[in-house]
Symmetry: C2
Subunit: 414 residues, 2 copies
């Protein structure tokens, strides 16, 4: 099976200013054609660091993917470093030049002497088209070793992988089969789960591997398999294994698809032709964002009121002033009225509401930081549940938004 | 100056399932005490991969930070691998055991034979307290080489760095001075900016370095300096340099602090004692999330209506049906009424509103995907501006949310 390494280049990645999301995107795409990533390395915009990491990577694998350092400014040195590594020189590429002139034809003010360095490319490489940007997309091939250098801008890197590099790799390399199947469980601690399924896990063949991926109180159980057999046979074998796993975890199983919860919710709503809205206090719009982040969400998601201030809970969501006075904003009574209120206001079939203490301040002995009330309102019934989350402000609100969608998913599945 | 490397461990990091945010957090914290990270490597939960990367890292630097692979399940093998690397064995640690029993005293169902492996630690290491979790926090010291192994759970890793590792490093190592100063510019292409300040950049001394960090149409210009001199002198020297840079970029300079735009907005609002709300269509809650993500936001942020469906724009935000009919939802007229509507509904001093086409569907020749109208409403005036963003759905909405806050920031600065 072909193995690859990724080298991501940029000072900004090594001082914590920018989080590298390119390597994850590349890993996913390579995985789908049966290429496994062995290692990802982040290095500075430094000729020596890039040369060393390249030499090391090619001592272990025959395929290296590289991102970053292709901009027009002084700190971008990947292109000249690659010239040195492959013993070649920069030449002007007419097709890259035409592409860049075309790209900026509506914004001629962007063109200048630095932009012009963008159509200088190493003579020894094959230039692939970067449809959405000006940095060159380069393929180097030498003695069976293959290197792709792509822009660090995430959107450009993604288009480069999808439209250019993956099709090239399918052409150039023999690929293996790697399959993943994921079950999502909720409400069971990781170690309890591991003990419960230990025997099943031990019985897996060598070419299958189970991973526990906990996040937001869910655990994704990912079964991976890699083999030279064809997809259909391997897939069937995995299904047989999973069929014996499911009865062991059925009380906690909430989904059998490795999709985000909001996608599972959206699919069910579309299937039923129903709609949803949300009323958010502590989650502050996170549920809204999850519900509308995917294309097509306008068919089931109507809107949200983020009622941060209590006046909004009263005036917009019609929470009774006496409820807020008697029970407080973080209470079962308030969150139920918020859910019912937004469902009426927006005229949707379903709604979810949250009210809690995200911290770091505002906790009391009765209602410590992390206390979150969540309600799901439907045409027939309104449910409410109290949660206690741990962690930072961001983690508490992320947990709460996920829990709200899980509660809704369970109601939709009933 | 001390240099470090980071090794992050976990299969999930190499198939694109989980994005590593720990290395960025560690880099930031090490930077603050003058330790520069040279390289970050992500490897699988594999004994061989961990051993190799450790050997390589220690051949280059004397300080290695490691995250992950410390859970109780089969796929977590960091602890046994470290035993092999340092030629030691696992022993039971009574204080870790007591800490774990205390941690789970309210949830005894979590304790089982796998949890018990959590208080097995390598004999040769110094165990530091993991206040917020059960995995051990380990320090290995050998022939001047220093290794820290911490949990992969981001919250636990962050607490470990802040409370345990940084104080230890200050004790154990001589540290250098690294300073960063950032200016934020908006509305100028990167290469135009680079040409405009090329002479200034060329005149920088060797120990100062300028980086261009473009994101959401802003460019952060980060000046870094590293030296053995004291903080005060180096900092003064940087200010002198910046004083000659600012006149060159004053038309585009929107902030002189490396803070997120929403923090700058929040600081100004607090200072003025004013409040803000938002009405969001295409941004779907992103502005709300930005405005309330930091502690203390409840003093200036009141709430948001995410008006995804047109009925919400009419019924909740009081946009005239005739406006929607005549001009459409994505229009200057609609976005102005949305902004004014939410400001009245929520009774705030300011509001921002967005309406646009996030894509990938819904574009027309007149209003292609990426067209976004943004309005800022204040007591005296309502401004509206049309933007054309490129990229994916997520990028378009992220750009739009940032642009809305930048418009608001400019109004607040007037």
């Amino acid at each position: 099976m072909e193995k690859a390494e990724i080298i991501v280049i940029g000072d900004e990645l090594l001082i914590g200013q920018v989080v590298d999301t390119n390597s994850g995107m590349i890993e996913k795409q390579l995985n789908q054609i049966g290429i496994a990533v062995e290692r990802t390395t982040a290095v500075h915009d430094s000729e020596q660091a890039i040369m060393t990491s390249l030499t090391e990577a090619f001592s272990r694998v025959d395929l290296v993917m590289m991102t970053g350092g292709l901009g027009p400014t002084k700190d971008d040195i990947t292109k000249t470093t690659l010239c040195r590594y492959f013993g070649t020189r920069l030449i002007e590429d007419e097709s890259v030049k035409q592409h860049i002139l075309e790209l900026y034809k509506d914004r001629p003010q962007v063109l200048n002497s630095l932009t012009a360095t963008q159509w200088q490319v190493p003579e020894a490489c094959t230039v692939l088209e970067n449809r959405v940007g000006s940095a060159p997309l380069m393929e180097f091939s030498m003695n069976g070793k293959l290197l792709y250098s792509m822009p660090g801008v995430p959107f450009e890197a993604e288009v480069a992988m999808e439209e250019q590099i993956i099709p090239r790799l399918k052409q150039l390399r023999q690929t293996n089969t790697i399959l993943h199947r994921t079950l999502i469980v909720y409400g069971i601690p990781e170690s309890t789960l591991a003990l419960r399924i230990a025997e099943w896990e031990d019985s897996l063949p060598e070419y299958m591997h189970l991973a526990y991926l906990p996040a937001n109180r869910m655990i994704r159980l990912r079964l991976s398999a890699s083999a030279h057999t064809d997809n259909v046979q391997l897939s069937a074998e995995m299904e047989t294994r999973l069929a014996t796993l499911k009865p062991l975890i059925q009380d906690y199983l909430i989904a059998e698809d490795d999709k985000p919860i909001e996608v599972l919710v959206g699919e069910l709503l579309k299937q039923k032709g129903e709609t949803v809205s949300s009323a958010e206090s502590c989650t502050g719009g996170k549920i809204a964002m999850l519900l509308n982040r995917h294309a097509g969400s306008s068919s089931f998601y109507y809107g949200t009121v983020v009622a941060y201030d209590n006046s909004i809970k009263q005036n917009v969501l019609s929470v009774e002033p006496s409820t807020l006075q008697t029970y407080g904003a973080v209470s079962e009574q308030t969150v139920r009225q918020m859910a019912d209120g937004v469902r009426q206001l927006m005229n949707t079939d379903w709604s979810v509401a949250t009210s809690g203490i995200a911290g770091p301040d505002g906790g009391t002995p009765d209602k410590p930081v992390g206390t979150v009330w969540i309600a799901v309102s439907g045409k027939e019934t309104t449910l409410a549940e109290c949660f206690h989350f741990r962690g930072s402000r961001d983690q508490i609100t992320t947990h709460a938004a996920a829990a709200a969608l899980i509660l809704l998913l369970k109601q939709l599945n009933k």
